[in-house]
């Protein structure tokens, strides 16, 4: 194209910021199909995150611990408030709830193998407990979900903890989806549904509403399991101060708090990107709620949503979490979105790292699928080894930071160890903007 038109210079072709190519492709897709876009994963938009925080490390007023030599404990006990058998973990990095159905049986087995080798827990999901997962998980948290698919008292009593799921960071206020391509005979039987339908999981529990009912539901679950196992309550990052307050009031032993970067197996893209709050924004109100109730460190706080590294773990714990949970990162450790499958991702119209159509069941890595041929590509023993390695690295990284800050336990990290790189992160984390002693809202309520 000529830069001139009859001697008059042309202006450079200018793409609209509002109607950019991503937006335009969304409009064209909607116009062609008549249905919203459904995908897996968490929010892809850029949000304030743990990357916007830095540890200051030791100095004259704080002295460090010797790396690799001086003890830096990573253990955590969850659920000691009411349960006679609380969960004892060697590392505070746990595996978040992911369903059999969304994931293959071997993938669930690998999560159990890796978590067990690392001395941590894994979690069931919407769809019930599989023998593979129970058999390979030394500590298994059983999710109690609105759908109650596969829910039964026998499995409930096999669990090491129960997690009542109220919300999920990717979709606060939304239920689950599992599209027909993944409703195999086995998945259909476990969920008591016809094969091949587009299955919707309820967004509300069928037999309780509100915190007063929840308190009685927790009582029932404790009675059925003999007050032996901890009961967690999982909430999305919606109204963390009030949700945590109400969950504690209802009798939860632990709170799982999930930010919008947390993944889902399948949900509307508009839901994932526009409902919920970033993980960084929800932790301080949650910790404040526990502190106001005098329950911080008594009711454990497990933070999830975009946790990727030992640095994220250390930052979460410095801000008051007792543990974290990983989902998407664990799948990547197993081999999800690996560039070795690039040619196959290309055939699906995507590229390694961007593949998120987990609902279609065509995962080249054989993880988010029920297709026998694709599943056969995934080795649960190798997957478990990789996850164990990854969990070990995260733990070592978190210890490295804690020692540098002079802490002999990850729980001793504190907000005073942190500074923020941006105003937004300073306001959300309530730590000083780097180079200052100030953050927006300092002196306010929270």
């Amino acid at each position: 194209m000529s830069n001139e038109n009859n001697g008059i210079p042309r202006t450079t072709p200018r793409q609209s910021y509002t109607f950019n190519q991503d937006v335009n492709s969304d409009i064209r897709r909607a116009a062609a199909t008549g249905i919203y876009d459904i995908r897996g994963g968490g929010a892809k938009r850029k949000v304030p995150s743990f990357d916007d925080l830095l540890f200051m490390g030791a100095s004259i007023s704080r002295y460090p611990l010797e790396g690799y030599r001086e003890k830096c404990d990573t253990s955590v006990t969850i659920g000691g408030l009411n349960a006679s058998n609380p969960i004892e973990l060697d590392t505070p990095v746990t595996i978040a709830g992911m369903s059999f159905g969304a994931l293959s049986g071997p993938a669930k087995e690998a999560l159990g193998r890796g978590a067990s080798a690392a001395g941590t827990s894994t979690t069931t999901g919407d769809g019930g407990m599989t023998p593979e997962e129970r058999g390979h998980s030394t500590k298994l948290v059983y999710q109690y979900l609105p759908s109650r698919y596969g829910m039964n008292p026998n499995d409930l009593r096999k669990a090491d903890a129960i997690e009542i799921v109220v919300g999920q960071g990717a979709k606060p206020g939304g239920g689950g989806m599992l599209l027909g391509q993944k409703i195999s005979d086995r998945v259909a039987a476990m969920r008591n549904l016809p094969k091949g339908i587009d299955q919707r999981s309820a967004c509300r529990h069928p037999d309780w509403t509100g915190p007063d009912d929840l308190e009685i539901k927790i009582l029932e679950l404790r009675e059925i399991t003999g007050w032996k196992v901890p009961i967690y309550v999982k909430v999305a990052g919606a109204r963390p101060y009030y949700d945590v307050t109400l969950a504690v009031k209802a009798g939860a032993d632990a709170i799982v708090l999930d930010g919008m970067q947390g993944g889902t197996a399948a949900t509307q893209d508009v839901f994932i990107e526009h409902v919920g709050q970033p993980t960084l924004a929800i932790i301080r109100p949650a910790v404040k709620a526990l502190q106001d109730l005098g329950m911080h460190r008594k009711v454990q706080l497990i933070l999830s949503g975009g946790i990727r590294s030992g640095a994220d773990v250390a930052k979460a714990m410095a801000l008051g979490a007792d543990a974290v949970a990983i989902g998407t990162a664990a799948l990547i450790a197993l081999g999800d979105n690996d560039p070795k499958w690039e040619s196959e991702y290309n055939k699906l119209g995507t590229t390694a790292g961007a593949y998120d159509d987990w609902q279609d069941g065509l995962d080249p890595a054989g993880i988010t699928t029920q297709d026998p041929e694709l599943m056969a590509r995934f080795d649960p023993i190798e997957g478990g080894r990789r996850l164990h390695n990854y969990l070990s690295v995260m733990t070592l990284e978190a210890q490295t930071i804690a020692r540098a800050c002079g802490k002999n336990h990850l729980h001793n990290l504190e907000p005073e160890d942190l500074v923020a790189l941006t105003m937004e992160a300073a306001a959300m984390a309530q730590v000083p903007l780097a180079g200052t002693d100030w953050w927006p809202g300092k002196g306010g309520s929270y």
Partner: protein, 225 residues
């Protein structure tokens, strides 16, 4: 007959005593006095025992029941027999919301009326209500049978799957994707058997059958890719 008085003891002791019974127990008959609306009475049972509760109960009585027969000689609070797997629960009075919610098996009989969301998300349980049921009953019901000898409230069977709903009286409205279905001989047989088990003198021929139109089973996509 073993008698347990909740005026003299606590819920934990009661439930742990009942949970200690196994398939071989010879203590098969239990009476619970003074329930006074307590929650979670006789939940999580898993033995061939018969428990009679002499009065009204709170939330989740007989929740997740397996094998046991539980008779409630009064009315039941929300979530009675929720997630029942097997056995039988009989309520002489009325049942509050969510009766039989998510139940996988067994028989729930309500001799009075049941409130809203009766049989919500049911997964194989059979429920017989001698009286009426409230709105949003059998919401997202997956399988099993809900038999209503009286009338049904609004939005019966909304978004249901393969559960069958039989109503003798009127239905105020049907929920999304729920429709009246043909009553075939096999359905009359199912009804006859359930009505007999529930000690109802209603006649199968007096009922209409409702179920999923199956129009919501898959997303309606103009041009999927």
């Amino acid at each position: 007959m073993q008698t347990f008085d909740l005026a003299d003891s606590d819920l934990r002791t009661l439930n742990s005593t009942l949970h200690a019974q196994n398939d071989d127990t010879n203590q098969t008959a239990w009476t619970i006095e003074n329930p006074k609306g307590a929650h979670a009475i006789a939940c999580g049972l898993d033995a061939p025992i018969e428990v009679t509760i002499k009065g009204s109960t709170g939330y989740y009585s007989a929740g997740m029941n397996q094998q046991a027969t539980v008779n409630i000689k009064g009315s039941a609070g929300p979530g009675v027999a929720e997630n029942m797997m097997s056995g039988k629960v009989v309520i002489d009075g009325d049942a509050s919301q969510y009766a039989g919610a998510t139940g996988h098996g067994g028989l729930l009989v309500v001799k009075g009326n049941a409130s809203s969301r009766c049989g919500i998300s049911m997964k194989g349980i059979n429920i017989v209500v001698h009286g009426n049921i409230g709105h949003m009953s059998a919401f997202m019901a997956q399988s099993g049978n809900l038999v209503v000898c009286g009338d049904a409230g609004d939005a019966l069977g909304d978004s249901c799957y393969e559960a069958r709903m039989f109503v003798r009286g009127s239905v105020k409205s049907l929920g999304a994707d729920c429709e009246e279905k043909e009553m075939r001989p096999e359905h009359l047989e199912i009804l006859k058997d359930l009505l007999e088990q529930a000690e109802s003198d209603a006649k199968p021929e007096e009922f209409k059958r409702y179920g999923s139109a199956r129009n919501l089973y898959n997303f309606n996509i103009d041009n999927a890719y």
